[in-house]
Symmetry: C2
């Protein structure tokens, strides 16, 4: 069954956006009475049927609402350096949303590429991924944070910094993180965090962790970190 | 340091392929005496220097050889359905190689898209990924196997089938797979395996497993399975 995205829905009638209406009526050729499911990005999963198949403002009558659909028992926030190849960052976005994440922050590190996120594309990727994987909660993509600003601001839960430097002892994620806890994980740029950044993070309560023996690209490290927390919670 | 790929190397002098020679001499502008590292795909990591900077047949004198570089204590074979969007399959290839895999087999299931792998592109992606992640062993991409043929042929180690059907009890990977063991994992097409395929696999000794609560695309499920085994082994 196709899933539609209708943010800020309330009441028993939902009007789809122009994009979603067009997709529903013109592309999928749905019509009056067709049953569809909707997510609102705030935890609600609706079932309903089309009452007005307007290709610009399609109307749905809600017949069933599940609140808190797919609510996880942990929250995950990943701060990840932008990547030279923007497509790789977008892959990370899509895959981390599919697996399970709550907040993604572009993390501007000393060695980060100066490659701003395309916010509109990124927003569409996130919506498309929650629809595809039927997630009622839409993860938040925050504004970019400078490294120091990030570590000063986000300090609650189990805070971890992944890095490859041999100068600092690192541990495996599952020896510091356990099921049900909130996590913040930092993923560095291709050239890794600087020693100064690692020290700064440690001073702010971040624990250095590794992602195993393999040398991973930034976006792969991001997925590996996201999946580690997911795996521990299953 | 840049890594070059030189299969079937032996002796103290290695001649790079035309592609690698051009990249080394023309693109990276390396010259006589430049120190480089090479992997041969069979477990050797060489260090050497350029003795003849020929842009078609660059010659390297080997000064150090590490055999069995990065050898893992487990072998992982993933049989994964082709995907309609070929780029998604190629992304799985790249990421699974980075994380750690030994054999990848395109698995032709009842509901698989008829989308043949581009073997030449796939081969280049694998080589590029082992160079990037400094892996001395090159994973093998086998010919496609029909589902029945695959489950008849590959039966050793911990054999698992990931699926979403509610008709069969499933368990988490780490309750059947433990560190150091060889694993075979089946990943189905977007429409999932048929019940007949699941029964057939169970009869051949495959254990139904799940990858957690999230509904994952084929390529994401492949990465999640690959990373689960990797994570357990760290």
């Amino acid at each position: 069954m196709h899933i539609f995205y209708a943010p800020e829905s309330s009441g028993n009638t939902i009007t789809l956006s122009e994009t979603e209406s067009r997709h529903c009526i013109r592309v999928l050729r749905m019509t009056t009475g067709s049953v569809i499911k909707l997510i609102d990005g705030s935890g609600n999963l609706y079932t309903g049927y089309i009452s007005d198949p307007d290709p610009l403002r399609c109307k749905i009558i809600v017949t069933k609402t599940i609140t808190g659909f797919g609510k996880r028992n942990y929250r995950l926030h990943i701060g990840i350096s932008p990547i030279k190849n923007r497509e790789r960052f977008e892959w990370f976005l899509e895959k981390s949303v599919e697996i399970g994440i709550d907040i993604i922050t572009p993390l501007i590190c000393h060695r980060s590429e100066k490659n701003p996120i395309n916010e509109s594309r990124a927003g569409n990727i996130i919506i498309s991924a929650i629809k595809q994987s039927v997630k009622a909660y839409k993860p938040e993509l925050t504004k970019p944070y400078l490294f120091d600003e990030f570590t000063d601001t986000f300090n609650s839960g189990v805070c971890m910094i992944t890095h490859c430097s041999k100068a600092f002892e690192r541990t495996k994620i599952d020896s510091v993180y356990s099921r049900g806890r909130n996590a913040v994980i930092l993923i560095g740029p291709e050239g890794d965090f600087t020693d100064e950044e690692i020290i700064r993070a440690i001073e702010r309560g971040y624990i250095p962790v590794h992602l195993g023996e393999s040398r991973l690209r930034t976006e792969t490290a991001g997925i590996a970190a996201c999946h580690s927390v997911y795996f521990i919670n299953q």
